[in-house]
Symmetry: C2
């Protein structure tokens, strides 16, 4: 059962709002972490300019909280295009993309509805996932966007997801990214394609964004809850981890360990980053980690602790990667000062359309 | 989008029913793999004596398909006990457990409702998860069950989940298990605790069950769909993999790879077993694997293939571990001869009660 410490959540929301406000950065949080319009509304209330989504269901659900949406995912295929263009008329839509195929199909679909769609051309600045690695290709694609009304070229996007941790390798990567981005922006300006929007920013790099000239907006997701990996890589404190999985000890029959009723179907099997092992650690005893898992069993390693739990004891696990944990649950429970206060559904989980029974 | 090849599913169901029937083994499949009463009903129709569940929601939902249920998970805590004992009166219930704490709390809860509950004492035969490693402790716990009416001692259970693959290490482990189990059954008989039920069997070991004297029933789960790991470890053929994730190529911008719209939120991040890498492989091109993932992106490694997919192409991914994939989706789509035929919801996913809004 996922519990969110509401005081910590609010502190996390405030901190990012303050940081971006102070540095004049637009905050467009990625809602993939919480998938809930209720938290999105809190982000908007604190000054976020709009929201970032990855799936069409996320966009459909998030219209409740904001009508300024970035789909940071190429909408490939007719069902996705149809769902995108069926979003309410007052939605201001932007899309990131990296191929001519998507430009042309999106322009056709938007043209039929006579609907303007903003486009950010995606750059690969080292993540090697989506995005064009070469600026010449970025320029070509931006030109293609300009030729394809009713699409509107708005600028560029990148995701620095390969930069993790605060150590010197990360700082060097950040330095390379800064140089590369400046070169690319200069080349775009020269080609008459000055980007109005330069959208970047993951949670781990978010606090460095003011050191990267040219970036106009950031799209962090994880910062609302944080997690063990964010803490282990130095992008938050352990006490900033707002979401834990409440679990119960169900067996102590095998020596040296205790078994809890949270396994890979509750915690995900996300690797640990930085100096750590296992799939999660206890909030109150970070030295006790979930060392092995089955689908419904988590094995707490007791070899490094004097603590000897009994069957029936409850524990709270800080997961390695919180976005996956939220995706694995239907409901999140909000607590304050250890007392239950509220709960909310994970509304934007899954792929099915709100309107039709179409899954894309 | 998870697609199930219905011909393969039916063949898998038939094969296990035939095997267990031929060897006089009771088949009590674990429904954690499909979480759907519709497939459970097909298992019952083919002769399964009942069903195995891990969560209370699974048990609640599966009452639709069978009233003979084994909760192969210790019911720890009052909410779980309440839900267990609130199952319809015509349910014949068995529970596995490994502690006196659970025996006593279960007996109290069952006593209040004057409801008989069968008990299988869980042995650890090498998995090191739940279960008592020492037969003396098994005997003590079985005696405690006998003293705690309305609980009824029915026998023992074990899960050979540590035995994977068909090679000689696995055969040696199976040999050790056989010897250990026979010793334990002998000791139980001597103590006047002859087990009426000896419940074992995972999918990888299922086909060897007839070689393990004493086992009366098996609880395989994965065999309905199979997956890449089951195939790589030799417990099924590649063509027995019934469930694939349909995905679309969304980017080819970075050379040497293609990006599909199925990442860790669709495929899970389950490790590969046997001779393999990555998180899944294409059904039609098993040499093409999902080599990296983000939450909504899967990176297909194209370095070992001449195949050059385009944005918009569709692929079908055989996941490493199918139970997690089903748990990640709301609906499963059934196809036959490549054509859509039906779909069904993953009804027993999650933890919330069908009756109350209690999550345990």
């Amino acid at each position: 059962m996922p519990l969110v410490d509401l005081d910590r959540l609010e502190r996390n929301l405030d901190r990012m709002a303050t940081y971006t406000g102070r540095h004049g950065l637009a905050l467009r949080p990625h809602i993939k972490t919480h998938k809930s319009p209720r938290i999105a509304a809190e982000q908007i209330r604190r000054g976020a300019v709009g929201l970032t989504c990855a799936t069409l269901l996320e966009a459909e659900v998030m219209m409740e909280a904001s009508n300024d949406l970035l789909l940071a995912y190429p909408p490939v295929g007719q069902p996705k295009l149809d769902r995108l263009l069926s979003l309410p008329d007052d939605a201001e839509l932007m899309v990131t993309l990296d191929s001519g195929t998507v430009v042309e199909s999106l322009a056709r679909a938007a043209g039929k509805r006579n609907r303007e769609i903003g486009v950010l051309v995606e750059l690969d600045l080292g993540m090697r996932r989506v995005g064009l690695p070469k600026v010449e290709d970025v320029i070509e694609l931006a030109k293609l966007v300009r030729r394809n009304s009713p699409l509107i070229y708005r600028g560029i996007a990148f995701y620095p997801g390969h930069i993790r941790g605060g150590g010197s390798p990360a700082l060097q990567q950040l330095d390379e990214l800064r140089i590369r981005l400046q070169d690319d922006i200069t080349a775009l300006k020269r080609a008459g394609l000055e980007p109005e929007v330069v959208s970047g920013g993951s949670t781990p790099t978010a606090w460095h964004t003011h050191e990267i000239p040219g970036v106009t907006e950031v799209r962090p997701g994880t910062y609302v809850f944080n997690d063990r990996n964010t803490s282990l890589t130095g992008a938050c404190e352990w006490t900033d981890c707002a979401l834990t999985v409440l679990a119960t000890v169900v067996s102590t029959a095998v020596s040296g360990q205790a078994v809890i009723d949270a396994g890979s179907k509750a915690l995900g099997r996300e690797p640990v980053e930085g100096q750590g092992t296992g799939f999660g650690a206890l909030l109150d005893r970070p030295e006790v980690v979930v060392t092995r898992m089955s689908e419904e069993h988590g094995i707490l390693d007791l070899r490094e602790t004097d603590w000897r739990p009994s069957v029936g004891d409850q524990v709270r696990v800080v997961p390695n990667h919180v976005c996956i944990v939220v995706h694995l649950h239907e409901v999140v429970y909000g607590i304050r000062a250890e007392r239950w206060e509220t709960s909310w559904p994970v509304r934007a989980r899954g792929r099915r359309s709100l309107r039709q029974s179409v899954e894309v």
